[in-house]
């Protein structure tokens, strides 16, 4: 009999023999990195916020408004569209874990917003951003377009259905988590490179770590499907992915123009454009597609994300600890 493929319709419940142990490992690794919102100390941020100029304050308010809704959109798509089509229980374990992480992110940004915006009316306006701030609404509409593309599907019966699934998955991994969120992280790290908003940066580090894993999982799924159904990811689909990426860059650039206005120190919409193009090329490269922009990374401070942190405990809580540890007491192991 033929093996069940990852996107075959149905709800396989068999964990042994396990078809995709890599997904299960990703699930276990994610559990070891559990963090909670209570661990993030936002107190020092309040003093920093008071020192920001009006332009910087505008940037932060908009950013927080985007974060507040962004993770909810991702969570909704995950549970309403993706989960039902991934036909391997070990992969769905990971998606369940991802859903939990998205919930923690939503809680983090809610806590952040409550802390940053003490005024009740301002908070209400921030959450309504998706309705009345054009640059955020455009991003949300971009998301909804791709959510809707497979919204009506309850089974992936045809090849065309599976291609639509892939497009949705790639949109969420490469464009929303991989570009919109990465853009937003860059603003946070830009503040941190100037010694500002360390609490936001700490929480963002942890969100960033989670999102990196979500993206990697999604790309693993894409790789798996391409291996199982070699013809599915053809030139036409590739062209659609590139178009989608272009739209995402344009939407995020409009957001950047709204955030940066005429530019703030080292942060301008033009530099952000270069950064977004650079990131977009990386996403395309990960999918095995040629670079669309060929732009270099303008933000040297993003290099900080790639190397080990060594925090002085007087200063910050270190974010590098593991949660699950196994084994029994032994006195003769090598170390």
């Amino acid at each position: 009999m033929t093996e069940t493929m990852l996107l075959d319709p149905g709800m396989d419940l068999t964990l042994r023999p396990m078809r995709y142990p890599g997904f299960y490992e990703r699930y276990r690794a994610a559990i070891r990195n559990t963090w909670t919102v209570e661990e993030v100390d936002l107190q020092s941020d309040l003093a920093d916020l008071a020192r920001l100029g009006p332009g910087e304050r505008h940037l932060i308010n908009r950013l927080v408004a985007f974060f507040a809704t962004g993770d909810s959109i991702v969570a909704n798509n995950l549970v309403l569209n993706l989960y039902q089509h991934v036909n391997a229980p070990e992969a769905r374990l990971y998606l369940s874990r991802q859903l939990f992480e998205e919930a923690v992110h939503v809680q983090f940004y809610l806590t952040l917003l409550d802390t940053y915006l003490p005024d009740h009316d301002e908070r209400v306006r921030a959450f309504a951003a998706v309705d009345h701030i054009p640059s955020i609404r455009d991003k949300a509409e971009f998301c909804f377009r791709w959510i809707d593309s497979i919204n009506g599907l309850s089974r992936l019966e045809t090849r065309e259905d599976r291609r639509r699934f892939l497009l949705n998955l790639i949109c969420f991994a490469a464009c929303i988590e991989g570009l919109f969120f990465y853009g937003a992280f860059a603003y946070v790290y830009w503040f941190r490179s100037r010694g500002l908003l360390g609490g936001l940066a700490t929480g963002t580090n942890w969100v960033f770590r989670d999102e990196s894993m979500h993206m990697e999982f999604a790309f693993d799924v894409v790789d798996t499907v391409r291996r199982e159904e070699p013809g599915l990811f053809d030139e036409e689909l590739a062209a659609q992915v590139v178009r989608m990426m272009e739209e995402a860059v344009a939407a995020e650039l409009a957001f950047a123009r709204d955030l940066c206005g005429d530019g703030l120190g080292g942060m301008t919409a033009e530099r952000m454009r270069a950064y977004l193009e650079y990131v977009a090329d990386r996403r395309l490269a990960r999918l095995g597609l040629p670079a669309r922009y060929g732009t270099a990374n303008p933000f040297a401070f993003m290099e900080f994300q790639d190397v080990q942190e060594l925090a002085n405990f007087f200063e910050r809580r270190v974010s590098a600890y593991q949660v699950a540890v196994e084994g029994d007491v032994r006195l003769d192991e090598s170390f």
Partner: protein, 735 residues
Amino acid sequence: MTQTNGATLARPQGGPAAAWQAIEEAAAGVVADPENSKTAARLLGGLIADETARHGVRSFSESVAAAHAEGLLDDGLAAFVAAEAAALDALVDEAADDRFEYFGLRTVYDRYLLRHPVTRGVLERPQHFLLRVACGLSSSVGEAAELYRLMSSLAYLPSSPTLFNSGTRRPQLSSCFLLDSPRDELEGIYERYGQVARLSKYAGGIGVSWTRVRSRGSLIRGTNGLSNGIVPWLRTLDASVAAVNQGGRRKGAACVYLETWHADVEEFLELRDNTGEDARRTHNLNLANWVPDEFMRRVEADGTWSLFDPKEAPELTDLWGEAFDARYRELEAAGRYVRQVPARALYARMMRTLAQTGNGWMTFKDAANRTSNQTALDRNVIHLSNLCTEILEVTSDAETAVCNLGSVNLAAHVTAEGVDWARLRATVRTAVRFLDRTIDLGYYPTPEAEAANLRWRPIGLGVMGLADVFFTLRLPFDAPEALALSTRIAEEIALAAYGASADLAAERGRHPSYGETRAARGVLHLDHYPASPVHPEEWAELRLRIEATGLRNSLMVAVAPTATIASIAGCHECVEPQVSNVFKRETLSGEFLQVNRYLVRDLRRLGLWTRETRDAIKTADGSVQGLPGLPDDLKALYRTAWELPQKALIDLAAARQPYVDQGQSLNLFMAAPTIGKLSSMYAYAWRSGLKTTYYLRSRPATRIAQTTVPAVRPEAAAEAVACSLENPEICEACQ
């Protein structure tokens, strides 16, 4: 990343904003070329000079006058500097700024230079700051010159509180305070909160024991209720510590110690968990286990461990060694325990806490007391260590132990030919005299701290830059030569420090409690160990001198973590191996990249310092083990803390211990810890005679996707390899 090239690094025009951008770009280029660090530092030096000039400050004496006019400095210091202005101004060595790396100078600028209360601009240049610190501890120009030269050559730096506060109106110069456990009563506990807050306010780190406080379920006679145990009290302590901000420079920090027989020990170990009921968690407190030998013996024997309520067994806290063992067994035989657990089950719980939180440090009560100079009399007992586990001093309700710290930068005492022993000893002698001076000049936030410090006069001289010594001399951490050299360094420091303290005793008298010490009974710290010193004849001579003069200080050597001052000095921290060949530091002033400059020098020599190499090192999380073309001996030399056998770190610490009369902040590293490995490692540390250990560092199970190294589809990478193996003639990778 963008390559930062030299062309953009010219002195910026157009005011501070442009200057900052140039500085940040140079700093971000550090990974490409470590020289960019010096460039960024020079640019920052220029910016600082401009900023001070805007406040009318050009010379040292002008800077002291300006800061004094703003109420920041002590009247006596201002008068001294005004009277000696010409001589002191002439001491300033402007060229010494070139010794700073960017991270060091940025730290100095952000946190140490005195600032105008209103404009927030700095009122002193880096060299002014060091000379001001020196003047605050001196009574003559000659003395100030001696200390200033040591600091400006980055050969020695006192601890942060001394750097922050020397010469100010409230010169709190001590690094750490150790408070005995509050008495088991409401008033005692609230009194302790107040003391902790006052000590913390002036930049001191806090260690406090909680062992005397009754455990959960214990009867409270006054109300006929049952106690909720120690957790609710520690929650209050947690909130109190977090509320105290050390003058805006850093957050308050405290470590709570609990003895392993306390019946609340399991709940104590959960205080830092990020799951469970938040009402039973303390997110800011650090935790340490104060472990008696009897517990470790029972772990080895796989025996039972009895947990006691301190209200029922109050005497255990004040006993150690055989007296403790006998009393513990007696109470146990009489069935007076709250409950019993398998010793290994509790030990496994301790190991789990270490792996999950890095906290729950293992410190050993009996080793600490058995070897201490302060515990010759039964009534003097060490009950805990401090925030960084390197200080071990007696405490009681009336005495809060204090320690004044400073560290010798070993990197400044080594050349390719070896360690300059004469210079090292000279540095130590000067350092000891000035550490002793801080005891008399310091401001003490509580009478208990003042009483203890004037009676015992302990100091904690430590080291930093041991890894730099090993890199310079090409000794891997686990080489036998490294062990011999590290031990010799510790011995030379101890010899010079004890000699200097004996000289001070001859000049100014022995410390008031000298009669209560082991030294007064002819026993020196190394006598507790089977040590074979390099200089036995010098030790014999020193012994005779001490017999005649006594000592000015009851304790002298402690290996502190040196996190901040090693950054200023630009060397590796204390006795630690490097964590990575490329890493970032996160501090209150933002993030900084550091590259192993020794490695870069070697790679340059081999023609391997390329963009590809940098990306490969970053991709490998700072490891060079997979770097093609790097010879095996260099791979061994440039292993990171994650790649070194931890046994070697413990062996180095154990061999050094005879010459370290207090403790060592020994961090241990394990990328993916298991209970089996951890329990073996800490049992070995205990058997080796270490008094304390510090953090367990582990690595996150998942990581952030890298953004500045090339992205590759894994299959594409695999295909490329396969292709080169199977079709060598057509593979473009082979051209």
